[in-house]
Each structure stands twice: as structure tokens, then as C-alpha cells.
């Protein structure tokens, strides 16, 4: 075999063959390397920008930073809504070896309900492993201390603090200021519609009702961002850039905390509403609806049991009586009716009508009773208001007619929202022929007009509407926009929220307005006025009008006996008033549900409010 091989082998030719093959091989090597270089060029030069973007997308994350919510102060600078840190104990699953074991350890130290433990273990499954999850929120100071001391034994367990809203006066301002709570799906949709979702990237809460809701966009502030570099597990490696959050603007209210407190105190156990307003510019000084409830419950997520209790309470604490409570205005609108009568020329200052104790429509037998059985005798516009004569206004209303009344009273703001800075507002109802046809499929009867004259018969108003109509009356047809927010304050400047007055009623003869106001003054200041007893001995001058609203309809011959009927069917006590009579700086609207007569039940409350207001004014000295 060796022989054979040696005989045929040709070393030179073999060597040449090998060299050719090796050279060819090397050519292939170079071609392949060229392909690699070409591919590198494509990736690293041609598509470089594309891949840089993707690499940055991998590593750079934006972490939103929540802004601090603007604080809310009363007119004296007293803090009404603040941000307080709440503490929670949290755990990062990635850093904990045995999660249920650690949970047991924590549960030994502080109380965690079995339901919460179950819930937590479920949450762990659905969260990313490096994001911390709250084991328990709203820790007490003692619990914080216990966890802090034992933290070294619990790797991966941290104490976290974040700011949340706190309302130090509890139920006192609930209906005015409202509260914030967790953003729900519906609110999220709305934020999306407005295109501000990004601004809420780090926010948990949103204004739910009251001023917190109305001024949400200013109070919320601007979200900040931290641009961070993360690794493949999302852990933050370093901060690349940051834009701090801008706190929301602080809101300064026209509300006076002391007056508000007084309102609550005066309503006591009664259901009702008190509005104190500066009629000159619509600034609300007190805005209180009784009963109220603690808004802090809602901030922390109210329990189902507590919520049902509030919802089902017969006193209906959740209703904002100031703007959502609709009541027949009763006699409180008589001054407005008088102005209409005078301005239209239906009556004059001298017009007198006889009052036998009832009114009868021509060709109708049904008597419309006056609240004084035997009547007031001959009545002019002053007496009609001071003594709250019903017959005078029955007659006036019928002479004016429904259309004229409805049109004119709408100018006083009845039947539409006042535009106060809460969204929970009812428009009340100023009836009209068209309305009755649409709503009740019935024609307007003359009898409907009769009771309209004394603020009954479908006419319903909110206390805020009454307050606004009073202000319009006092300003001779100029309307202020009622508001609780006076101005916003941030580091650089204050932004006023006070809107200029707007003419809503043309004045034919200013004297007519004067007559009505003089009658209101007499109502409180002169013997025989329905509010005289309540305002006896005041050190200032005042004007006002009492009202007693029927809650149930009485048959013509039936006598009202407060003791004989259920409490919720008793009359509502109403009162509107202002002081000083010459140049009013405060107006009061008081509604007390089912309390009885306005003169004896609502007017005294208004008087005490005024007394308190002027006492504080003089104590404050030169201060406005």
C-alpha cells in the first residue's frame, strides 16, 4: 500500500492543490467578513438612530411626581383643608424571600385583618415584583414606631409616607369645601376627554364634591417628572433629569370660619341651611347645611357600613341643603313680588286693598285663606310686607298674571342655578304655563297663580337662590355672582375670583325698590312686623322677611295644628334678612325644616348670626 501511494503521489501538484483550496477558503473567509462588516454598517450606521431610540426606550423611564394640592384657607387665614402625611408599611416582593412568612411577622407586630392579609397576598400575584405594595395604610404613630424599630428584621419591608388631604374642622365645611377621594373610572374618562390625564399620572385623588371639585384644576397643580435610568428589572439605577412638580394654588375663601361655626351651633339638631353673604359682591361668609358628616371618612375610603348609614339616614346628611335643598320660598319672596307690582304699575305705594281673612277668585267659591283668620283690614304695600299679608299678594299675583310673574322672578335668579362655586346645585323651579303643560300635561289654572303670590304652588327655591335674589333686590337689580372662593394664591401672585356685578333687572323707578326695602326694614324694626320680636333690641339696623312654608297642602277648612301632625309634615321656617338696613354688608338666608313659623324659628337664628357678625366686626376694630 505504501508503495502504491508513493508511486502515484505528486508532492508538487498536491501542494498546489492545497494552496489553491486554502486560498479559496480564505477568499470565502474574507467574503463572509465583508458580509459581517456590511451588516454591522447597516445596524450601526444606517439604522443607528432607530436602535438608539429603542435602547433609550429600554433604559429610560419617566416617573411622575405628584404635586402638592393647594391648601384652602378661610378669610381670616385659618387653614380649612391641609395636606398631612399618612404612613403605610409596604413591601417589595423582589426583595422578600418568603412573602407569607414576612406578612405573618408584620401581623404579629401590628394588627392586620385576615381579610386584608388575603387581599394583600392576591395583590402580590398581580404586581410587578420590584414595585412596592402597601401591606397596611394609615398607620398610627405607634404602629409606625413599632415597624421602624423592627425594620432590620424585615428585609424588603419599608415605611412610606405620602401626603393626603385632611380637613381639620371635620363636618363643619363638608358641603362647602367638599372632599377629595380616589379617582374612579368615570372621572378618569373625563380627565381623558379634557386631555389632562398626563397631569394626573402620579395623582391618586381628585376633588369629588364642593370647592375641591369646582376648583380641581387650580388646586391640583402640575405633575413633575423624574427621568430615570432603569435596568432590565425596572430598578432605578440613577436619575437623569427631573422636573419638580408645581404645587396647586392655595385657595382663600370668603367664608368666615367663626361665622360658619356659629351657624352650625345655631342650627343644632335641626335640619336646615344657613347662608351668610356679603350682598355687595356675592361673597359667601357662611355656607352651612345641617346635618353634615365627616369628609375625612371619604378621603380614606369610607367603609360600606358607614356609607350606607349616611345614605339611608332619614336626616339625609349627604344632601347639600344650601344648593340642593329645594323649598317653597313662601312669604320670603313677597318683597320681590311687591317690586314687580310697583314697577309694573299694578299697585302704587298708596294702593290699599281690604283683607277679610281670605281671597276669592272672581266666579270661584273656594276661599284662599290668609294666615290671620280675621284678616288685616285695609292693607297697603308696607303692611302687606311687614305683616306678611297673604290676601294682598293673592290679589296682586292674580292681577299680574302667571307670565309676568314667571318672567320677572326668573330675572331674580329663580328657576336657574346661581353659579356658586359648587357643582352640586339644583335649579329649583320657577313655574310657568309652558312648564306646567310640559310637566303635568295640564293647563295653568287661575288658582295656581293665587298661591304663587305667596311663594307656594310649584315654586321652589334653594337657600342659595333666595340669598342671591335678596342680593339682587338690595343692589337694585344688579346681580353679584355668589362665590366662596375669593382668590387663588401662588408664589408669584394672587388671582381674584370676584366677578363684577351684572345688571339683570332694569329699574323703572328706584323709589319702588326703596319701598320694598323700607317695608323689610319695618318688618324687623317696627312693632307689629313679623320679625320684630326676633330682632328686638338690636344695636344695628336691619331688614328682612319671614316665611313659613307649607310642606303639605291643607284643605280649605282644615286648620294647621303643629302638634297634631308628623314632624316631617310641619312647616318649614324661612327667613331672609340683611344689615345694616341702609348699606347692607351681610345678608342672611335661614331655612329650618319642619320647625314651624319663620318669624319665631328662623328669624332668631339670623339675628344671632348678625349679632355675632357685628360683635366680631367691632372687636376687629378698623379691619374690614
Amino acid at each position: 500500500m505504501i508503495k502504491k501511494r508513493q508511486s502515484i503521489q505528486d508532492p508538487a501538484a498536491e501542494s498546489q492543490l492545497f494552496n489553491q483550496r486554502a486560498l479559496f477558503g480564505y477568499a470565502v473567509v474574507l467574503i463572509c467578513f465583508f458580509v459581517v462588516v456590511f451588516n454591522q454598517y447597516k445596524l450601526q450606521v444606517v439604522m443607528h438612530d432607530h436602535y438608539v431610540t429603542r435602547a433609550d426606550g429600554n433604559r429610560i423611564k419617566l416617573i411622575p411626581q405628584p404635586p402638592n394640592r393647594g391648601l384652602i384657607y378661610d378669610r381670616n387665614g385659618i387653614l380649612l383643608a391641609e395636606n398631612r402625611p399618612i404612613h403605610s408599611v409596604e413591601l417589595i416582593p423582589e426583595q422578600v424571600k418568603d412573602i407569607s412568612q414576612t406578612l405573618m411577622e408584620i401581623a404579629k407586630l401590628i394588627e392586620i385583618t385576615p381579610e386584608r392579609q388575603q387581599e394583600f397576598l392576591k395583590e402580590v400575584k398581580y404586581h410587578r415584583r420590584f414595585v412596592s405594595i402597601a401591606v397596611k395604610e394609615h398607620l398610627t404613630e405607634q404602629e409606625v414606631a413599632i415597624i421602624a424599630v423592627n425594620q432590620h428584621r424585615l428585609p424588603g419591608v419599608t415605611l412610606e409616607a405620602r401626603l393626603t388631604r385632611h380637613y381639620p374642622y371635620g363636618e363643619l365645611f363638608t358641603h362647602a369645601i367638599g372632599y377629595i377621594g380616589k379617582i374612579n373610572a368615570k372621572e378618569l374618562d373625563k380627565l381623558e376627554e379634557e386631555g389632562v390625564t398626563a397631569n394626573y399620572a402620579a395623582s391618586r385623588d381628585i376633588g369629588k364634591i364642593g370647592l375641591e371639585r369646582y376648583y380641581e384644576s387650580q388646586l391640583h397643580g402640575q405633575v413633575g417628572f423624574q427621568q430615570v435610568e432603569v435596568n432590565n428589572r425596572g430598578r432605578v439605577i440613577r436619575i437623569l433629569d427631573s422636573k419638580p412638580a408645581t404645587s396647586g394654588d392655595d385657595l382663600i375663601l370668603s367664608i368666615d370660619m367663626h361665622l360658619q361655626k356659629k351657624a352650625k351651633e345655631l342650627l343644632g339638631e335641626n335640619r336646615g341651611a344657613i347662608v351668610a353673604m356679603d350682598p355687595r359682591d356675592g361673597a359667601v361668609l357662611a355656607f352651612y347645611s345641617n346635618p353634615s358628616y365627616d369628609p375625612n371618612l371619604f378621603v380614606h375610603g369610607i367603609s360600606g357600613k358607614n356609607y350606607r348609614e349616611l345614605l339611608n339616614s332619614p336626616d339625609r346628611p349627604l344632601v347639600n341643603r344650601v344648593t340642593q335643598g329645594v323649598y317653597p320660598p313662601a312669604s320670603t319672596i313677597k318683597p320681590h313680588m311687591a317690586i314687580l307690582g310697583l314697577e309694573h304699575g299694578t299697585v302704587t305705594e298708596q294702593t290699599r286693598i281690604p283683607d277679610p281673612g281670605f281671597y276669592k277668585l272672581p266666579n270661584y267659591s273656594r276661599p284662599y285663606r290668609d294666615h290671620v283668620k280675621w284678616g288685616h283690614g285695609w292693607v297697603d304695600v308696607y303692611t302687606a310686607i311687614t305683616k306678611s299679608c297673604d290676601t294682598y299678594f293673592y290679589d296682586l299675583a292674580v292681577k299680574l298674571g302667571i307670565d309676568r310673574i314667571s318672567d320677572y322672578m326668573k330675572k331674580f335668579g329663580f328657576g336657574s342655578r346661581t353659579g356658586i362655586d359648587v357643582m352640586e346645585e339644583s335649579a329649583g323651579l320657577m313655574p310657568s304655563k309652558e312648564w306646567k303643560r310640559a310637566r303635568h300635561k295640564q293647563n295653568w289654572f287661575p288658582g295656581d297663580t293665587v298661591s304663587l303670590g305667596i311663594g307656594q304652588s310649584y315654586w321652589s327655591t334653594t337657600p342659595m337662590q333666595l340669598a342671591l335674589s335678596t342680593a339682587i333686590l338690595l343692589n337694585d337689580g344688579l346681580k353679584p355672582t355668589p362665590h366662596m372662593g375669593r382668590y387663588f394664591r401662588n408664589q408669584s401672585k394672587d388671582t381674584s375670583l370676584i366677578a363684577p356685578l351684572e345688571r339683570v333687572i332694569e329699574v323703572k323707578n328706584p323709589k319702588n325698590w326703596q319701598i320694598s326695602k323700607e317695608a323689610m326694614r319695618q318688618t324687623l324694626m317696627e312693632q307689629g312686623g313679623t320679625g320684630f320680636n326676633a330682632f328686638k333690641g338690636i344695636s344695628y339696623s336691619a331688614g328682612g322677611k319671614t316665611g313659613t312654608a307649607q310642606v303639605i297642602n291643607m284643605a280649605a277648612n282644615q286648620k294647621y295644628d303643629a302638634n297634631a301632625i308628623k314632624e316631617i309634615h310641619r312647616d318649614n321656617a324661612m327667613f331672609i334678612g340683611y344689615a345694616p338696613a341702609e348699606n347692607p354688608s351681610i345678608s342672611l338666608t335661614v331655612t329650618v325644616e319642619n320647625a314651624g313659623g319663620g318669624g319665631s324659628n328662623a328669624a332668631p337664628i339670623a339675628r344671632k348670626m348678625m349679632d355675632y357678625y357685628f360683635t366680631r366686626q367691632s372687636a376687629a376694630g378698623a379691619q374690614p
Partner: protein, 371 residues
């Protein structure tokens, strides 16, 4: 030339039977590898120490084999091949299972991976067989040669270890190629492969295998699954740009978006941090080593040495190309390390052993000629 003129005045390299240019290329490559590994491992000193230890061991193996005469390799080629094949069978029968594959044989005092031995034993045996016949090869010899390549390839494929089996197969085939396999056959194979692949696709491959192929063709279709590796690798390479992000400043690698970044995907780290400039340097270095290897092969005195040296060199190239190709999306992902740069085990020792054989071929030829 110097050696001939003054045989008594040898340089240190000659005394140690080392080829200067090749040694320089290898050292430069290994040092480059150490720098990249330092960055890719996240400044992991334990890893650096382990890698350095292996380097020392690998260079030791190279130095040792450089002293062995080529005739000795010729003598041991067949016994080594037979023993290796037997061990591959044993691995399949009693082997140690690690990472889902049976590759290790426990010898009691050490664990041993027979497929690594076969990386050298197969080209040695095929070179032995081919060099015992006149070149160019006749068709029947070619068939025998193919069978010699196929047996260990199939055995290793069973472990399963696709990367190694391919490398071993090509190592053997390179011998046949260099031995003068006829162009007609080469062309025929080149034509058969696409047809065979398509037939396999239609009738043989399972759905999951098809899915793998599709993912290779379009990694973006499965960004969180099997496409993740290659997508992240391409992002790393592409974002590196022409100049690179700087040593130890690759975001894809340092922030651990890149998987297997100190082993199979170390080229991506290199590309990201040192950019296209770095890649050109690295490829030039590889091209130089391959060129030097082929020069040594062509200067070798006998056919066995030529074929063995040529095959070892070209197989080294296949390592480089398959690794770079897979991490940059040119080839499917098969677990092949970047030679002498990737962190990891036995393959580096085997590679350096191969270079030891090259050194031996390069430095023992004169003595052979004189005999």
C-alpha cells in the same frame, strides 16, 4: 531563514516551538477579550479570575502541544478518534445531565466532555485517512471521509448539542475540501441543501421547530419570547453606532437588557461599547490569525499536517462567523461562543490546543525535512 543559518543560536520562540505572529495575534485577542469581559461581567472579579485561570491553562495546553511532533499526532489520530467515539456512546449511555443536555462524562476525579476532544480528533483522523491517499480525493475515499465525520456528528447531535456537532462536522468536511473534494460534488451539495431544507419544512419539521425558524427570520414577531435575545442584541449593536458608547458605558449590557452578555452575546457588548471601529479592529485581528494559520498550513511539509492545520484554522473561522452571525441576526441562534473572547469553559482550552497543533506544524517542519 535565520534558523537555518545558525541552528545553535535559536530565539526564545523557536526554542519553545512557537510561531511569533500567530502568538502575537492570539495574545492580542485574549487581552481584548479580557477587557470586554471585564465590562460585560459587570466588573466581576471572580469571573475575571476564573477566565484568567482558564487562559493560563489554555496557553499551557498550547505550549505543551507545540512541543509534540506532527508525526505523533499522526500516530495517535486513529486511536484518539476511536476512543472519543466510544466515549460519546458512553456519554449517551451514562452521561451526566446538565442544562438539559447530556455532555459530560464523570471520570470520578473530573468531569469530562468527550465532544471537545472530538473537535480535534475528527479532523486529525480524517486528515490521517485523506493523507494516506493521493490527492485529489477519489469519490469512494470521499464517502469514507464523510462517514468518519458523520458518526461523531450524529452522536453529539443526540446529546443534544447542535453547535458543537456542526463545528465537528465542518472540521472534518474542511479536511475533505482541502484534500481536493471535486467542485462538481461541492456544487451538487450546494444545490441539494435548499431543496432538502424545503422538503424538511414540508414533511419532517414539527410546528415548534418551524416556529423557531420563523422567529429567526423575523425576531420581532416574538419580542418577549425567543425573539427577545436577538432583538436586544441588535439594539445593543445598532445603538453602539460608529464610535461606540465607550468601554463600560453600554446601556444595553450594563443595565442587563442583553442576555448571556458575557458568554454567547459578548460580541454585542463589544459592538455596543466600542462601535464599528472596534468591530473592524476585531475582524482584522481574526482575519490575521486565520491568514497566519493558513500560511502555516500551506508551508507544512506533509499532507497530514497541511490538512490538519488548514482544517483547524478554517474551523476557527466558522466559530467566529457563526457567533457574530447569530448575535447580529444573520444566522439562527446556535450556542457557539466567540472564540477566545467569550467567558467559558472547555471550548477555550480546545481552541488553544488546536493552535498548539498549528505551532507544532509550523515549527517542526524543518526538522522533518532534514530527516
Amino acid at each position: 531563514m535565520n534558523l537555518l543559518k545558525d541552528p545553535n543560536h535559536k530565539g526564545l520562540l523557536a526554542k519553545l516551538h512557537l510561531d511569533g505572529p500567530l502568538l502575537a495575534g492570539l495574545i492580542l485577542l485574549c487581552v481584548t477579550g479580557l477587557f470586554v469581559l471585564y465590562s460585560a461581567s459587570g466588573q466581576h472579579w471572580d469571573m475575571m479570575a476564573a477566565h484568567s485561570t482558564r487562559l493560563v491553562f489554555a496557553f499551557g495546553a498550547m505550549l505543551f502541544l507545540a512541543q509534540v511532533k506532527p508525526q505523533t499526532f499522526h500516530f495517535w489520530a486513529v486511536p484518539l478518534f476511536l476512543a472519543g467515539t466510544a466515549m460519546l456512546v458512553m456519554v449517551l449511555a451514562f452521561g451526566h445531565v446538565g442544562k438539559g443536555a447530556q455532555r459530560w462524562l464523570d471520570l470520578g476525579f473530573m468531569k469530562f466532555q468527550p465532544s471537545e476532544v472530538m473537535k480535534l480528533a475528527v479532523p486529525m483522523a480524517v486528515a490521517w485517512y485523506v493523507s494516506s491517499h493521493p490527492l485529489p480525493l477519489k469519490f469512494r475515499h470521499l464517502i469514507v471521509g464523510f462517514i468518519m465525520c458523520a458518526i461523531p456528528t450524529v452522536l453529539i447531535q443526540q446529546q443534544p448539542d447542535l453547535g458543537t456537532s456542526i463545528l465537528i462536522f465542518v472540521a472534518g468536511v474542511f479536511v475533505l475540501f482541502l484534500g481536493g473534494m471535486s467542485w462538481r460534488i461541492i456544487t451538487a451539495i450546494a444545490l441539494i441543501i435548499p431543496v432538502a431544507s424545503y422538503t424538511m419544512w414540508l414533511f419532517v419539521m414539527h410546528d415548534y421547530q418551524k416556529r423557531r425558524v420563523l422567529t429567526f427570520l423575523n425576531p420581532e414577531s416574538d419580542p418577549l419570547g425567543s425573539g427577545y435575545h436577538i432583538i436586544q442584541s441588535k439594539i445593543a449593536i445598532g445603538s453602539g453606532g460608529f464610535e461606540g458608547k465607550g468601554w463600560m458605558h453600554g446601556t444595553q449590557s450594563q443595565l442587563e437588557f442583553l442576555p448571556e452578555r458575557h458568554t454567547d452575546f459578548i460580541f454585542s457588548v463589544f459592538s455596543e461599547e466600542l462601535g464599528m471601529i472596534g468591530v473592524l479592529f476585531l475582524l482584522a485581528l481574526y482575519a490575521f490569525i486565520i491568514a497566519r494559520g493558513l500560511i502555516i498550513a500551506s508551508r507544512a511539509q506533509d499532507n497530514f499536517s497541511k490538512l490538519l492545520a488548514g482544517s483547524i484554522t478554517l474551523t476557527f473561522f466558522v466559530y467566529v462567523f457563526v457567533n457574530i452571525g447569530m448575535v447580529s441576526g444573520l444566522l439562527p441562534v446556535v450556542g457557539v461562543p466567540l472564540p477566545l473572547v467569550s467567558y467559558g469553559g472547555t471550548s477555550m482550552v480546545t481552541l488553544m490546543a488546536g493552535f498548539g497543533i498549528l505551532m507544532s506544524v509550523s515549527t517542526h517542519k524543518r526538522l522533518l525535512a532534514q530527516q
